[in-house]
Assembly symmetry: C2
Homo-oligomer: 338 residues x 2
DNA sequence: TTGTAGGCGTTATCAG
DNA sequence: CTGATAACGCCTACAA
């Protein structure tokens, strides 16, 4: 079942069938209809390989992410898929894990599959040392590279991200304005976005005229129970705090568990703010105040950016989205504002 | 940069290069090495389209799921991707949503991309009416179809699932044995797996000599707050219950929120059991007793099944995994068993 | 062990 | 507006 069968049955040449297939206007309406009828009748589907051979593209985008089972990344992948499909693109999903070697390997693999572009989900694809990012630059030499939630300046690399530093700055500042003086910061990743958040925290502390305290910046494992233990240990070591801000909802839940265990009242004795506005944040008790980084908007932006790149437009290297604080039960801003 | 360039530079024919490429043993070690060196030097990568054209396969599996941002489905997709990649297969991810028309459309789309097989994640791809499943049968006519968490008997369709009915039966029975007499069942899906779970519940009630009460089987929305409201309403209407078993952790969390609001102590006044052992289950307070359906094992089984099908083995139509009850704070079985 | 030539199903370029 | 024909890059008999 190929283009020849259709052309025979329709009594035209394969060139005409191909033209109909590709919406070429140089076909008489009558001929077009005849061909379409035959295609329908035969249930003909063009062979993507042959087409790919000629066009050297298969309308497919490679998506690289560390771990698609992470709720935040899973969301991003979902929105990307939905929006790319609107433009007729398929996605090949590829989960690399944390190892740089694997990231490189899989990126090469995607390129060898002749994807039309690569989208990297999560700033963890940006290595701290610029020289370790050469694998990205190489990729960018052949196809557009989009980075979600990270930023690096290089030709043919486009970044869509939210202003994590600003968001954490604002949230921290708000805690301070509401009378919290010892704010514990929890994080688990030193990725680009992780650094941004941390710097937002530091800046807020300094702007308020407070002193930065290393003991108040706690590097945790990405696990709620281990986070709880880490906080418990810090408290046992004499670290005092009346608020927690976490780089990730999961860590904030660990803080809630700590408060419960330590007999602290939330938000009275301890205010808690998370990050991502994930399902977890409305699951715990009290429900978690959290920063919403609008991953859907970011994903849509990324797709739109890519489409503009494809159509040859001049496209900004970076698009930044602002984010919101979603207030729930672990903070008492409202009461203070009355 | 193609096979001709390599053959020229290496001073051999393209056939020899092709043989080296495909690990054909009929090449002298010396020639092989020379060709490999040239390929390395030129950074040659075979063109997947041309290869696909000849072989009519691209070592790619299509994965269909309703919504890859659902934590449970996201997990399945992740494990599938990881395991398929071990065998050198890529995956094309395709999220359909709930509409049957879309399911059909995207399945056709995947087939037109010449995927080597299709994996359907979630029993929601099985329509209640067998005639509505003809789209699956059609697909099975051209490639193997794997269904995760659903079962239907048809040639070239293979199913990997856990015994949901048994799991709910066991959990319900355990509640009854521990003195609970009015068990509220929460569900939100009437998919194959949803039906299995419900039937497990019913059977357990009947086996224990209790009476089935329609009011105790509550169809909810897939949202924790709406579930809480639904339970509140039922209670207001006089429905009495001392335990809840939910087809989904999210619904169970709704029950926990209800208990909190109604001033009921968990597990003393109300025992709660969820399903899936998702992150949510260790996030709430108290932590949720839940049924773990071993999605990782199921995913691995599915991939292994597929590989056996590819190698032409005779493969059972269905593989069933048993599942465990993970006991946490919302039940008090342990105390009763002492 | 190696090389030659035909085929895979499209697309694109020319003539007409 | 339509048709013939040459790419596209690889695989695989078959021949040597």
């Amino acid at each position: 079942m190929n283009i020849y069968d259709v052309s025979h049955k329709a009594g035209v040449s394969i060139a005409t069938v191909s033209r109909v297939l590709n919406g070429n206007p140089n076909v008489s309406p009558k001929t077009r209809q005849k061909v379409l009828d035959v295609m329908q009748e035969l249930g003909y589907t063009p062979n993507v390989f042959a087409r790919g051979l000629g066009l050297n593209t298969m309308k497919t985008i490679g998506i690289l992410c560390l771990d698609s089972s992470d709720p935040f990344l899973a969301n991003a992948v979902y929105y990307l898929e939905q929006n790319l499909r609107k433009y007729g693109y398929d996605i090949i999903l590829c989960c690399t894990g944390y190892d740089l070697k694997n990231k490189q390997k899989y990126l090469d693999l995607l390129l060898s599959k002749r994807v039309d572009a690569v989208i990297l989900v999560g700033s963890s694809f940006l290595e701290p040392q610029r020289k370790d990012n050469t694998y990205l630059f190489q990729a960018a030499a052949s196809v557009p590279v989009i980075i979600i939630n990270g930023y690096i300046n290089h030709p043919n690399i486009y970044c869509a991200l939210c202003d994590d530093a600003q968001a954490v700055f604002d949230a921290t500042t708000k805690l301070i304005e509401n009378g919290r003086t010892n704010i514990l910061y929890l994080y688990h990743s030193k990725s680009y976005s992780g650094q941004q958040k941390l710097s937002g925290y530091k800046e807020a502390i300094l702007s308020a005229g407070l002193k930065l305290d290393e003991n108040l910046m706690l590097l945790c494992k990405n696990d709620m129970h281990q986070t709880k233990e880490a906080i418990t240990e810090a408290a046992a070591n004499g670290v005092k705090f009346d608020a927690v801000i976490a780089a990730e909802d999961l860590l904030a839940v660990g803080a809630i568990k700590y408060a419960k265990q330590a007999g602290l009242k939330i938000p009275k004795d301890l205010a808690v703010i998370g990050y991502n506005n994930s399902l977890l944040s409305s699951c715990c008790e009290p429900e978690l105040t959290t920063i919403d980084n609008h991953i859907e908007t970011i994903s849509i932006t990324a797709v739109n950016t890519l489409m503009r790149v494809f159509s040859g437009n001049d496209v900004p290297n970076r698009t930044t989205i602002s984010n919101d604080l979603v207030e729930r039960g672990t903070t008492d801003f409202a009461k203070n504002e009355i």
